[in-house]
């Protein structure tokens, strides 16, 4: 797609159209999300609730990959730390949910810094491996310190957000919209610009006078903060913090797939991907054990044929040739 022939005015117009198209998609999505509780079964709301938290995970991941250019194989490291911190505080010291969530976010940020350190030294697969190992270590830690973490069983938290599906849905939706607004805003802000630059061309960006170390660490912390918060909320939604809900590699894989599926560097696409992934898994439950297989196949197909991702495709669908 090239605009060589087009006059700059039409190019500007196209840019505006693109923008409006994105707004349009969001509008549709938000309105739909807001009206769902009116006519959708409590069960489906439950599914979407989980999906929205995954959406936040995926967005945070996309901030790191899409903007800072860091391939993080271990999103569940950040998620898990936040989730477990919150869960432990709640079940051991009976702190109130809001406090626990805050604490979860805080702890996750610490984790984010831990992860940022290697990121500044290592590239590509090497950094990827470190993130992977981080998760494995966390997994083992949880099992070893079973006394505190409940080990393989996981721990049941005394408090939950609510037992009413609709309330849970609203909380999740609120969390999602707020995170989306902030993360998307951030990505379009000057910070996002600097971040993208340092991701795409570190040397050039430094030569323009930007301390990319500072900005990358900031990116990791932001990503961690949101992962941690969502992780904690998920725990208080599920009522349990267990390895296979918030730490397992499989969860991380789901997050990554969701983000890539929805469209890299779109932040909002990640949400789309997450909803699609989890809803699909749920809808295909009648397939019994094969549902995961089919979902993976669909995701693979999307990656092969629409590498732009769902949102990317939606935004450029018109312009192709």
């Amino acid at each position: 797609m090239t605009f060589e022939d087009k006059s700059p005015r039409s190019a500007r117009a196209m840019a505006r159209l693109l923008h409006s198209r994105l707004l349009w998609i969001c509008a549709v999505a938000v309105i739909a999300a807001l009206t769902l509780p009116l006519w959708v079964s409590a069960y489906l709301l439950g599914v979407l609730t989980a999906a929205y938290y995954f959406g936040i995970f995926a967005m945070s991941w996309d901030l790191l990959f899409g903007f800072a250019g860091e391939v993080n194989f271990g999103p569940t490291f950040l998620i898990g730390i936040g989730a477990y911190a919150a869960a432990i505080l709640n079940s051991r010291y009976g702190l109130s949910i809001p406090l626990c969530v805050l604490a979860g976010a805080a702890t996750a940020i610490v984790g984010g810094v831990l992860l940022a350190v290697p990121a500044l030294r290592l590239r590509g697969p090497y950094f990827g491996l470190v993130t992977l190992v981080a998760v494995l270590l966390l997994l083992n830690a949880v099992v070893i310190f079973a006394g505190v973490t409940g080990g393989e069983i996981g721990m049941t938290v005394p408090d939950v957000l609510s037992i009413d599906a609709t309330t849970n849905y609203w909380i999740a939706l609120a969390a999602l919209i707020i995170s989306a607004a902030i993360l998307f805003g951030l990505s379009r802000s000057t910070l996002g610009l600097i971040l993208q630059a340092s991701g795409q061309d570190p040397v050039g960006t430094q030569a323009l006078g930007f301390n990319i170390t500072k900005h990358k660490v900031a990116a990791f912390c932001t990503s961690a903060a949101f992962s941690g918060t969502a992780g904690a909320l998920l725990v208080f939604y599920m009522g349990t913090a267990s390895v296979d809900t918030v730490v397992d590699i499989a969860i991380g894989v789901q997050v990554i797939i969701a983000a890539v599926l929805g469209g890299r560097r779109t932040i909002l696409g990640a949400v789309l991907g997450a909803v699609f992934l989890i809803l699909a898994t749920e809808l295909l439950r009648p397939l019994g054990q094969l549902n995961t297989f089919v979902v993976a196949a669909v995701a693979l197909a999307v990656i092969l044929f629409f590498p732009e991702g769902l949102l990317g495709y939606a935004m450029h669908a018109g312009e192709r040739k």
Binding site: R123, P125, L132, V133, N140, V260, F293, P307, E308
Partner: protein, 291 residues
């Protein structure tokens, strides 16, 4: 006594790690692909081998053979259906091929794993040992099969070494891992080289899978774990360095065994992981990797 025990016990498992990792690193070295469906391919070889041997009663040897073929076949499918598609895709920007290959093979791996779980359930299976009985080495009771495995691993690795260092095709392969452009300027077709390396990989993964099935047993649920361990070993040894992977394999294998014996079986994987992180920090290019 205990030392000898550890030496013997660690050797078989390390050799197996090594065999599994070599193919993985070879592909990366030659075509720059990290194949995250690696574990899945091993599992398929193991399960198909087991099914042929036990379910359909064709006996261990035929079973093993069929298993290896299955591994080879699946490796080629992986290459043509997933990897090639991504590498040749116009829509995927070159600088992002890597992450796409990673995600793609990851998904493919999940598909394989789920498919296997559907066909064979996720119960671990074990193939009947190729040779039964135990041998007593200075008072250490060692299953004959374990010895056979160690030997087979080294035979295969030896054959690979001969192939790479003594045959034209092998030399070309080696050259491709250093400088594909230079090789194509000498009249070699890279596509053929890549095909060759995937064939080799398939065989190696297949053999490793089958041997694993006769040794520790395999379940479809192991796929992820197998990939992870191969990945770590390969990075530790230096991406693309065959000898590096072998060294790393023994390092990890023995570290795990020693931990299991001297500290506690539960902590088995941890020291290896820590070592890995440290190694990657201190020497990002791996033990024998070149920058």
């Amino acid at each position: 006594m205990l030392t000898l025990q550890i030496l013997i016990d660690g050797f078989a498992i390390s050799s197996l790690y090594g065999l599994a990792a070599v193919g993985f690193t070879l592909i990366f070295g030659v075509s720059g692909v990290l194949n995250l469906s690696h574990g899945g391919i091993m599992v398929v070889a193991a399960l198909v081998g087991w099914a042929t041997a036990a379910e359909y009663g064709f006996g261990s040897y035929l079973g093993a053979a069929v298993g290896v073929l299955a591994g080879l076949g699946l490796a080629l499918v992986t290459y043509f259906v997933v990897v090639r598609q991504i590498q040749n895709s116009r829509a995927i920007p070159k600088e992002e091929t890597e992450i796409f290959v990673l995600t793609g093979t990851l998904l493919w791996g999940i598909m394989i794993q789920e498919g296997m779980a559907y066909l064979f359930s996720d119960n671990p299976i074990t193939m009947r040992p190729l040779i039964a009985g135990v041998v007593n080495i200075f008072g250490v009771r060692t299953p004959a099969n374990e010895i056979l495995i160690a030997v087979l691993c080294w035979v295969v690795i030896g054959l690979l070494w001969l192939l790479v260092n003594r045959t034209g095709a092998g030399k070309a392969l080696l050259a491709a891992s250093m400088n594909p452009r230079g090789l194509s300027l000498l009249g070699f077709e890279l596509s053929r080289i890549y095909l060759l390396v995937w064939v080799i990989y398939g065989v190696l993964a297949g053999v490793a899978g089958v041997l694993l099935a006769t040794f520790l047993g395999v379940s479809s649920a192991n796929a992820g774990q197998l990939t992870a361990s191969a990945f770590s070993i390969v990075v530790l040894g230096g991406l693309g360095s065959v000898s590096g992977s072998l060294v790393a394999a023994y390092l990890v294998g023995y570290l795990e065994t020693v931990t299991a014996y001297l500290i506690a079986p539960t902590l088995r994987p941890i020291p290896a992981l820590v070592l890995l992180v440290l190694a990657v920090y201190v020497r990002p290019q791996g033990l024998l990797g070149r920058r």
